[in-house]
């Protein structure tokens, strides 16, 4: 997969930009705040319709502008596809795929896959379970396009159940709650099934990458722990998960009624990473954590490559400044043959050969 051209108007700090990248490696160099990350963010936005900076959509629109427009053409194994996204500061965005209104996020997710390496990727290992859930869900949504709709439906049902609990607390009508339990467990089972499938694909990659990235002979392992259910392993079918989820919800009902929120379900699950028997989150060195995070991103790339049949576009946002020379070299050694976009404040710290672009003052020019 490859981005052929990119146009942005009133996106972040850009007035207007038109950019024709190289099909191989593109290194974007410029001072801090010049807008390097915004270019990567725009590419990611076209592919996933969300910001990898976790920004609300309104924040993508240039101050005072009526709407932000990003469009780009991707060349995939199946031919070219033009994606256009128009985002107002408030309200609904408009998405066109080859000039036709896209019906859902899934339509766009089916076109192109991206994997982004971010400066704060260490969070994947160090911080709370939400980061690792999001990682699994992101990879799943790009591996199977229908997943983004399933995730949205689960979140919707969950929000509805929470709204019901918040309103009535202990006086919540149990029949209505039963009905929401049924919805949440059915939709939750799908989310869970996809997570476990993607986990199954990712795990061998991550463990072998951990060794390849040179962290020694210790074994890296993952364990998925489902709130209210217990440890689950890959390959568990969605149908087998509905009943356990329903039971977990019913076991937690008293607590849910007290706390006025849903305390079990895929939104509360944890993916625990350990090195031999040490918990990677609390008992691994910064360097080990860094290698795990890199491994998770490269593994995502490999899995998506395999599922989709062509290489995802790679976005490396200011990654090399965080890595020591040895890890930088190893990362480069593992970068696959793909279209790559790299940002950096210092050109010399990027050990990659490719097209160099100078980003300054809302302009991107060949350097």
């Amino acid at each position: 997969m490859q981005l052929v051209w990119l146009e942005m108007r009133d996106f972040r700090s850009y007035g207007s930009l038109s950019f024709r990248p190289d099909p191989g490696v593109n290194v974007l160099v410029g001072p801090n705040g010049a807008g390097k990350t915004s270019v990567l963010e725009a590419i990611g936005y076209l592919a996933t319709l969300s910001s990898f900076r976790r920004s609300p959509e309104g924040a993508l629109v240039r101050e005072g502008a009526e709407t932000a427009i990003v469009r780009g053409e991707f060349f995939t194994g199946a031919g070219g596809a033009i994606i256009e996204v128009e985002t107002p500061p408030t309200g609904r965005r408009r998405v066109l795929l080859n000039g036709k209104r896209a019906q859902s996020r899934a339509d766009v997710a089916g076109v192109v896959a991206v994997v982004a390496f971010l400066p704060d990727d260490l969070d994947l290992v160090k911080r709370g379970p939400a980061y690792r859930r999001e990682y699994l869900d992101d990879v799943a949504a790009q591996a199977w396009p229908a997943v983004s709709t399933e995730q949205a439906e689960y979140e919707r049902a969950l929000r509805q159940r929470n709204a019901l609990l918040r309103k009535d607390g202990r006086r919540t009508d149990e029949t209505t709650l039963d009905v929401w339990d049924d919805r949440v467990s059915r939709l939750g089972a799908k989310v869970l099934e996809r997570r476990l499938s993607v986990l199954d694909l990712l795990e061998p990659e991550v463990s072998s990458l951990y060794t390849e990235l040179g962290e020694g002979s210790e074994r890296l392992s993952w364990r998925y722990s489902a709130a209210g259910i217990g440890f689950l392993s890959g390959g568990t079918g969605g149908a087998e998960l509905v009943e356990p989820l329903r039971r977990a919800l019913s076991d937690a009902r008293q607590e849910d009624l007290e706390r006025r929120t849903t305390t079990v379900g895929p939104h509360r699950d944890e993916l625990a990473i350990s090195i031999d028997r040490r918990d990677a989150r609390t008992r691994a060195s910064q360097g080990e954590q860094r290698s795990i995070a890199l491994g998770m991103r490269i593994a995502a790339f490999r899995v998506l490559f395999d599922r989709r049949g062509s290489a995802p576009v790679l976005l490396l946002d200011d990654v090399f400044s965080e890595l020591d020379a040895a890890r930088s070299r190893r990362l480069v050694g593992h970068l696959p043959d793909a279209q790559v976009f790299v940002t950096s404040a210092r050109s010399e710290e990027v050990p990659l050969v490719g097209a160099r672009w100078r980003v300054d003052d809302g302009e991107v020019a060949a350097a």
Partner: protein, 197 residues
Amino acid sequence: MFEAPVQRLIDELSRLPGIGQKSAQRLAFHVLHIEEEDARRLADAITSMREQVRLCARCFNVTDTEQCSICRDLRRDPAEVCVVERAQDIVVIERTQEFRGRYHVLGGAISPIEGIGPEQLRIQELVARIDDEGIKEIIAATNPTVEGDTTALYLARLLKPLGVKVTRLASGLPVGGDLDYADEITLGRALAGRLEL
């Protein structure tokens, strides 16, 4: 921006669903240029619709009499009732010419986020109809959304113990379409609801 009477019409029009500022301006200027009599007819159509139209006492469809034309139709089978969220959904189902029973308009779907629980919908009224009319089957034709599906399930839980058969519209593939073009969610549902031949 415009002269006060023009602006007033633009403001009113732009409050309608699906009409933005630009469309409202275009409509307002269109009205400015038509015959005065045509303008009056339009205004009269709007106000008299509001005066004359009310909700059917039985099914809450839109009508201009005590009961709607479907409820008054003696050839309709009272044992089958199709439950919809909005009155306009009736028109869509009627167009198929496939359904010979009666309807019931709930007035929405269960959505705690918007403060809509079963009490806010016309569910008690539906329950009251079951014995009165000898209803045997309820067809839940609520929208295939999280809220619509939930409402259908709620009806099933509530009505099955009363001895009523509750069915749900199947969701599936568009007729005459190619399998390639179906999105995964629709195809997944079609697979789950497959029929034996």
